[in-house]
Symmetry: C4
Subunit: 263 residues, 4 copies
């Protein structure tokens, strides 16, 4: 039960999917959300799944919303640009196997609307304030040539060795379909910083250059501040909700002598 | 494997589904059970699921019962009233993904018998004795207008931010089907109080007014006392059973030197 | 993936299924295994499932066996007896939802070969040496009349309130199919006793009387001793194997500074 | 969602599947990988599954790879040899039920390409340096006769009693299909040794004799050293990734007083 509901079915040409779901430092979420706003991209589909947390969020203090991932599109305005599909959302899968199932659904949608390449955006928590810059990984050697002119360090393997969740699986499964993709990871000091506007800006700069876009960056820091409260709240709620869900696992009271073991 | 078995298939007009499954303070369970009794509503379907605890209950010391959710209906007696479907039960899903699957099955049934609106009833444990009153949340802004004349505080988001399990998911998924609903949460001090008759009464008062019903409230406290013993026992059993189930995870005895690691 | 493989398809009349899978004190397993031996019942089907532990057992030091449940049948020899299906096995489901799925498969098989009634056999660990005797529970009031003439205490609800796993679910789900059944629980002091020959004998005595069988009980204690070593080993192995499986959850070594967090 | 992708579909005669997935001491992985290299076996299929860890690996510091199992084949060169299918990979299932599902998929593939017999290779951690040699187990008594002439100790049952994961389940399920197989376990002192070249060599010697192959063993130790760094890294990453995945289970910060319990 992973369901995608379409508001419209855009027909795109040679499009790129840019993924920015929640993750380390929320760098992908911040960067892709900012792109959506600045490009005035249009929402065309939502995805919800039994693999998400089993609760609803309240927006504006009273409005009920399922946890969801959302797809936006934007059509190229001039030569050298490409049509875009932008993916953001409230959460990723709660269970390991759900990650694979949701990633497959996302790629099915991508193929259906004309996506040819996938770029995922994430973060790398280095634990050190002075380490910055964008780390990259690709599905194939030929991509390395295509992207080496940008300010990306392709020694990700030395620093990390693996990429967890959507940022990694979307590319691994996309490659399995014989297609190409790029992962961009912003380096950040990591916890307890929830969102790192500087790291998000660095990734955005690379992304904007690759996609040949013109984006006003001056509002980014202000937007990150606005988002941060919401993101902090959601993360706190998810942890709290998960604890509520697992409350049943607590020990029953010792005094209940009438309970005996049976089977 | 979530199965619904029908005893009869009522045809209802413009009906409202009222959900009162176990949850915080058992406020929904108490309120909806009381409605069922006072209205003499008729049972028409039962639901059981592999997502429930894997054990059976013994009623009257010797009769075996699967854990189940039960659906009752009641037909409007006069103008201004609406046909009702009332949902109560022994438990909710044991696993996160089960919550979504069961909620979808419940909504499928609701659509089949003519339900147009969903009202879920739950509790909010504030930890403070002096906080009382009914908190509300809705699927859409227009519902706010419809319900603002009742004694409901629609600032739920400020106090809670999310609604876990059936009380939330039924509405989130119902909204996804393009339909409307309301969640009513009774504020209660919370643990160690198992059931809070006062909080349940407050929610019932609002519910009865919305549904334009006439209900004798004088027996509520007595009924809550009667239910409390049963509820306490079930909750204790569920915790105990869950521990039995996970017993296999205990460490084997240290002395068993003949056991070696292999794979 | 729960698979039943038939060696033959017996056609039985008005048969009773007797379940004796592993559980408290292994009373069901011991009692039903003894019945199978003494009656020289014939194996006709095996069941294995992805819900069992993911390992194989070694019999006679070198022969590989999947964990399995096994079905035997025995045809009535004289008036007043009934055809029997006897169910024993190495284990029950490792996961809560697996219990429901396996129980449904067992009942499908039971219906297919002509079973009309189900009797499950289990144990009740009271923690007290002096409490003995057989506790009973049924799916319906009319069964109480049928079985009250035997030496069964039908106040199980007072002592236990619930029945975990196959002994309970087979009857709960069987009742849901509109059919009848009985659960017999031998009272035992419980851990650390692995198998309790006295409790098993008490249940066997009741079972033999209900089924109108003639069974030589003199070899029971000797057989229990023989089984006990095997049962102890299997239980130890299951715990050990489960720990091996979850080893991946252990913390990585602290010293591996080169590992960083990413996503 | 366990998917096998074929690069080619070899037609083999009377072939043997040799399994060497990760496990105790990585003896199977080391031994079968070495065979693949020395025989210059050809890759013909890859398997990935939602039951694997939800992350991708980075090879050569920048290339993204799904976790996978890989199938190679080699055709017999002379009389007395048999066609081979060789199975190696990055990991086994993360969840118990996944082990069964993946094993069934592997055996489906095996039957499709002409495999008649399965040999699984694993390790047995004895905790004692002086215990060496190869332990064996088989699916049927007649195999004992076939293999007793080789240097295999068929008292595995005395030492271990069970075989976890692919090394065991592939044989248990293969036997259930009415077919034959052999398990070879190299004895090793166990942790903290990650790979034990000596134990791997002992198993390889037996395997090479059974399969009537000529393999140059002189490069084994060197190869094991080379593999060891990679294997250590992968295992560390898997543990680290699993911890990242379960981070959501951590307690929320105590100070967040605005969070309340609801449901």
């Amino acid at each position: 039960m992973t369901v995608i509901k379409f508001l419209s079915k855009p027909k795109l040409k040679n499009a790129v999917l840019i993924e920015g779901l929640p993750g380390v430092g929320n760098i992908g979420r911040v960067a892709v959300s900012y792109l959506i706003e600045e490009l005035k991209a249009k929402k065309f589909a939502t995805l919800y799944s039994k693999w998400f947390f089993p609760f609803v969020m309240l927006h504006e203090t009273y409005k009920i919303h399922l946890l969801k991932n959302e797809f936006y599109y934007w059509k190229a305005k001039k030569r050298g640009q490409r049509d875009l599909v932008l993916l953001v959302g409230d959460c990723q899968s709660l269970s390991p196997q759900g990650h694979y199932e949701i990633a497959e659904k996302i790629l099915d949608l991508a193929e259906k609307v004309g996506v040819k390449e996938v770029i995922t955006v994430g973060g790398l928590a280095t634990g050190e304030l002075e380490e910055t810059g964008v780390i990259g990984a690709v599905t194939d050697e030929k991509l390395l040539k295509k992207y080496e002119k940008y300010d990306i360090d392709f020694n990700a393997g030395e620093k990390v060795g693996y990429i967890v969740g959507a940022a990694g699986l979307l590319l691994g499964l996309w490659k399995h379909r014989g297609k190409d993709g790029l992962c961009l990871l912003g380096q950040t000091a990591g916890f307890p910083i929830v969102t790192d506007p500087k790291a998000a800006e660095e990734v955005l700069n690379v992304l904007v250059e690759i996609l040949n876009l013109k984006i006003d960056m001056t509002k980014l820091e202000k937007r990150v501040k606005e988002m941060e409260d919401f993101i902090k709240k959601v993360e706190s709620l998810q942890k709290k909700a998960l604890m509520d869900l697992t409350k049943a696992h607590e020990k029953p009271e010792k005094k209940d002598e009438s309970l005996r073991y049976i089977g």
